[in-house]
Amino acid sequence: MIHFVLLISRQGKVRLTKWYSPYTQKERTKVLRELSGVILTRGPKLCNFVEWRGYKVVYKRYASLYFCMCIDQEDNELEVLEIIHHYVEILDRYFGSVCELDLIFNFHKAYYILDELLIAGELQEPSKKTVARLISAQDQLVEAAKEQRSSISNIIAQATK
């Protein structure tokens, strides 16, 4: 299974962390420090797998972002690379040629998309189209609520309540 997902920028800034196994806050910072030290220093033409504390970390760099997933020793590395690519493609489709800023300002959306893709550390939705459809459906739900909320009459109603 996937133990955690990390997005780290080339400068070592953390853009997203998702933990599927229990880690305390202290362990999380330690993991991040260790892994960004190992991964960011690796050259461009090296393999995408790093052995780390009995686990394997599969990473791939897209533009200025490193997508890392930590898996068990016997998991399939190439499959995880494909999951990473899959995630990036969905992000790309959702934001329209995604860039780091998109993820910075919409950190919650990156999480929502990841949640549609993986559950409990397992891939659950291999179809890009379905993920996109589900996410937009949920966004519509939120938007509808927002519109209703921000209408003038609603504010007046609340103030005079």
Partner: protein
């Protein structure tokens, strides 16, 4: 009221949302931490607002700060729950996200969300259901899992595929937390395996893959389903997972392996996806290694990966190869060039992997060649990889007590060479091995001393702190085995060279002590050479001699005098047992007197054959050199150095007075035996020539506790006494009698010094040795038994163990005898002393985790209970099964009954493990050959005994087997259906 409302409106209008926060954070001028703490203050205020929008916005910002800037948000847990329970989807989503980011199993508010989750899980809005499922997949405690099992059960067959998929994923977590959920949900989960929807299939296969990796045996009955998927599915995600499941199942059921190996090969041939291809390869090489043709195909595919330009595929190819090597070493040899070439790859991971493979190729015949290549290569590579190479050579060669080394002369010279490699940081390991080999392998000692001498004599090496440990080992070796040295004078100079001041004190002390040994050896050889000794000295020493001194001589003589008959067991006992009676000592000493003369004859012959002869001048010169070098050290601040230096100087002081006269006297002197100096020298050399062998780690425990010795006595009083004396700190034991005053000592005094001196030396070296070589000692196997009661001195079991040890020694001496007679032209592999390893491995076998066991028990029950309930199952398990079924419908109480049961059954287990162990010695064996049949049998004894220790299980299992042997025999057959028919 109005005021409150208006302030909330103000807040709503002017509250910073997440975007503002992030923008602000990126543009802040006051420093990030200051900005964040300001933002946190704001959030703290906003979160208390009554307006749900303000509140959820605050939580949103907070979860951002928590997840990416790692600020604690546990204080807001209650507010998160409030937001979760909002009726608006937008807020709910924020609340759930915050919860899954920040909650963990110990969060107290988890108790409050059960109802909220239940409400959302049964909601008509499928997105709300999905939110709750995601949350549950992240945080599920035992309580949550138990209480929400019915909802999950319903969702497992919902028509909304999107929700069902998530429910399947969540089931995995629920099972892990609350194994009893299996009884409820498992059947529905299995039904999903037949779903036509690929996404559902992918999810459910993923769950089974995860479940099977912990306990494959329980899922054997599902093999037909998986087989169907393997044949029919076109989806690579699914196929990879199914392959993983088969990799786990195949070793358990040979018939299954036979069926699936062909379809797997078919996939391997046909697929274009590298991930699937690699998974096929991995499955074949790890679980189907006995199918020759499949393995061959896999190796062909591995080769394709190896020659690929993509570093990922190359890495995986090497990984695959390293799995194949375990069973088929030809695969590596076929791809030798690629592997060796990868050693110089740009990627450190690939280099490391190929190094592992190269080391896997090492065997007795090629170890010399490969090590040569690697050592040369390490000279050229970067420091990190260089040490990686050296480390793997060292660990491979020392594996299983130097199993693959035939030519130890070569190996010790390789060790010497490795120490000189500039980047070498493996000092500790080389040090260990130098000493270890010295102790274990008699025949290599001459070469070892030569290597040590070469290291010691090089003044440049003293400047490298990484080498100090190696030098310490070299110094120790050269002192301990000085009799093999070609030129002791040279050795002495090396040990006392001025640059030794660069060494840390502890190592310097080893140097000085080795110098002492060399000095004593030279003096002794000189005297022997002069032929002063007409007879042995033990006769002369009788008045002052103690049993201890006698004992010391005995093993020594038996080891050195190789033409003597192999030592008897009785002698060895003495080595371990301080309580041996004096009588036996004396008896043995009589035996030894006869041998002594022979030994001296031999040594002197040995001496005369040496190139350098000891002249009077050279001896005097030697003494002067030692005095000159050590004199300044009597003012050393380190107690160990000071002590050792003084020992040597006092020794010189003692003999110096009489030395000239006895040296001049030559053979004419009749009374030479009376000269004290001779006796001293003789005693010292006897003391030093005692051999230190490897000692079993449990040897200490075998020493019975002497009567009247209270080991756990409170020694607080001692501290007050010692506090006044102010002993300088030292980790080694040293005794503080001032030797300076001991000039005109009586014989008895002298003797006491002789006696205690080597003993401290021996113990300190021994403890040092043991500390470093813990690896080579036996872990104390029967610890719990020994801890409770030490076996009496003459316990038969204890003797058995000892006998094994001694047998090794016997073999050793016999062997060295043989090799002494034949000059070693053919170079047979020298004997390596090994200690009786016992059956440590089988005892410390890992026991599966309790939770997993519960889970798999439950799974077995469901699978076998619903599919094939064998009619002949023993009444015991049948009854419990029925009970469980009844309970399952209520589904309210957790496994209290189960726990009680376990508690009961565990008690007797604790009480009498010892008796059982001694009685049923066979049960270890029983456990080892855990054949598939056995597992099937186990499977049939369902969940009841989940938590029990496995040893217990076997014992009970056995008992039952005995009781109704007939039943089990009958039940075996129906339990194993031919899964693939």
């Amino acid at each position: 009221m109005a005021g409150g409302t208006s302030s909330s409106i103000m807040e709503t209008f002017f509250q910073r949302n997440l975007e503002d926060l992030i923008k602000g954070l990126r543009l802040q001028l006051i420093g990030e931490s200051a900005f964040i703490s300001k933002a946190l203050d704001e959030i703290r205020r906003e979160v208390k607002s009554t307006d749900p929008h303000t509140k959820s916005n605050a939580i949103h910002k907070l979860s951002y700060l928590a997840s990416l800037h790692f600020h604690d948000m546990s204080w807001a847990a209650f507010h998160v729950v409030e937001v979760m329970s909002s009726s608006r989807f937008a807020h709910k989503r924020i609340g759930y996200q915050a919860a899954s980011l920040s909650f963990h199993d110990d969060t107290p508010v988890l108790l409050l969300i059960t109802n909220q989750l239940r409400k959302d899980l049964t909601s008509t809005n499928e997105f709300e259901v999905s939110l709750a499922l995601e949350c549950l997949s992240r945080i599920s405690t035992t309580d949550l899992a138990r209480d929400l099992t019915p909802e999950i059960f319903t969702l497992l067959s919902t028509t909304k595929l999107f929700v069902r998929r998530k429910a399947i994923g969540v089931a995995l977590r629920v099972f892990a937390k609350y194994p009893d959920a299996v009884r409820v949900c498992f059947k529905r989960l299995v039904e999903n395996l037949e779903s036509p929807d690929q996404q559902i299939l992918s999810a459910v296969v993923g769950v089974f893959c995860e479940l099977a990796s912990n306990d494959p045996g329980s899922y054997l009955p599902l093999a037909p389903e998986f087989y169907r998927i393997l044949i029919d599915s076109k989806n690579n995600w699914v196929l990879i997972k199914v392959l993983k499941i088969f990799a786990k199942l195949a070793p358990l059921e040979p018939r299954l392996a036979k069926r699936v190996v062909e379809p797997i090969c078919e996939h391997m041939r046909r697929t274009g996806a590298k991930s699937l291809m690699f998974e096929c390869v991995r499955t074949v090489v790890s679980s189907f290694s006995e199918y020759e043709s499949a393995v061959k195909l896999a190796v062909v595919k591995i080769r394709e990966l190896l020659v690929d330009d993509d570093p990922n595929l190359k890495y995986l190819g090497l990984r695959g190869l390293s799995i194949v090597t375990l069973k088929h070493s030809w695969a590596v040899l076929e791809n030798k060039e690629v592997v060796i070439k990868s050693l110089s790859d740009a990627d450190p991971n690939i280099k490391l992997e190929s190094l592992r493979l190269v080391m896997a190729m090492v065997s007795e015949s090629n170890v010399v060649e490969i090590s040569r290549v690697l050592v040369n290569y390490s000279l050229k590579s970067d420091p990190e990889f260089c040490n990686e190479i050296l480390g793997s050579i060292l660990s491979t060669c020392s594996r299983n007590v130097y199993e693959i080394i035939v030519d130890f002369d070569w190996y010790v010279s390789l060790l010497g060479e490795m120490s000189r490699i500039p980047h070498c940081q493996k000092g500790d390991e080389i040090e260990n091995q130098l000493i270890d080999i010295g102790m274990r392998v008699n025949d290599v000692r001459p070469e070892l001393v030569q290597v040590a001498r070469d290291l010691l004599i090089d003044p440049a090496l003293l400047g490298n702190p990484f080498l100090h440990r190696i030098l310490s080992a070299a110094a120790w070796v050269s002192g301990e085995y000085v009799e093999f040295s070609r030129n002791p004078f040279e050795l002495m100079e090396a040990l006392l060279q001025p640059r030794t001041s660069l060494l840390p004190p502890s190592i310097r002390a080893v140097y000085i002590h080795s110098a002492f040994k060399v000095l004593v050896f030279c003096l002794h050889s000189f005297i022997l050479q002069k032929g002063h000794f007409t007879s042995s000295c033990p006769d002369n020493l009788v008045p002052g001699i103690s049993a201890l001194a006698l004992k010391r001589e005995m093993p020594e003589s038996s080891d050195l005098i190789t033409c003597e008959a192999p030592p008897t067991h009785g002698e060895q006992d003495e080595g371990f047992n301080p309580r041996v009676s004096n009588q036996s000592c004396e008896d043995l000493s009589v035996e030894h007197d006869g041998d002594r003369t022979i030994s001296h004859g031999q040594t002197s012959m040995h001496d005369s054959s040496e190139k350098n002869s000891f002249t009077y001048e050279s001896i005097v010169n030697l003494i002067n050199v030692v005095e000159l070098a050590l004199d300044p050290l009597t003012g050393s601040h380190d107690v160990e150095v000071l002590e050792r230096a003084r020992n040597v100087l006092c020794f010189i002081e003692l003999i110096k007075a009489e030395l000239p006269e006895c040296l001049v006297q030559k053979e004419t002197s009749v009374d030479s035996e009376d000269v004290k100096a001779f006796k001293i020298i003789e005693l010292m050399s006897d003391a030093f020539s005692e051999e230190l062998g490897p000692v079993s780690v449990s040897a200490q425990e075998r020493v019975p506790l002497p009567e009247g010795l209270i080991l756990k006595e409170n020694l607080d009083d001692l501290e007050t006494i010692c506090g006044e004396v102010q002993v300088p700190p030292s980790n080694l034991f040293s005794f503080g009698s001032p030797y300076g005053e001991e000039k005109g000592v009586f014989f008895s005094d002298l003797h006491s010094k002789e006696e205690s001196e080597p003993s401290t030396e021996a113990t300190s070296l021994l403890t040092e040795h043991r500390k470093r070589h813990g690896l080579y000692y036996l872990p104390s196997e029967k610890n719990e038994i020994l801890a409770n009661d030490y076996p009496p001195a003459n316990d038969s079991k204890w003797k058995n163990n000892l006998n094994n040890d001694t047998e090794d020694l016997v073999k050793l001496t016999a062997q060295s005898l043989v090799s002494n007679k034949k000059p070693n032209h053919a170079k047979p592999r020298p004997v390596v002393v090994k200690l009786d390893d016992g059956d440590v491995g089988s005892i410390s076998a890992k026991r599966p985790e309790a939770k997993d066991d519960l889970l798999s028990g439950a799974v077995r029950e469901v699978l076998l209970g619903s599919d094939v309930i064998p009619t002949s199952q023993s009444n015991e398990s049948n009854k419990s099964f029925g009970k469980r079924k009844g309970k399952e419908k209520l589904n309210m109480e957790p496994s209290t009954e189960l726990k009680e049961n376990l508690g009961d059954s565990e008690k007797p287990d604790l009480e009498k493990p010892r008796s059982r162990r001694s009685k049923h010695r066979t049960h270890g064996k029983d456990r080892r050959h855990k054949s598939p049949e056995n597992i099937n049998e186990e499977r049939e004894e369902n969940g009841l005994r989940g938590k029990q220790k496995s040893s217990h299980r076997h014992a009970r299992h056995k008992a039952r087997q005995r009781a109704d042997a007939l039943l089990t025999v009958v039940s075996q057959t129906p339990v194993i259906p031919d899964f693939l028919l």
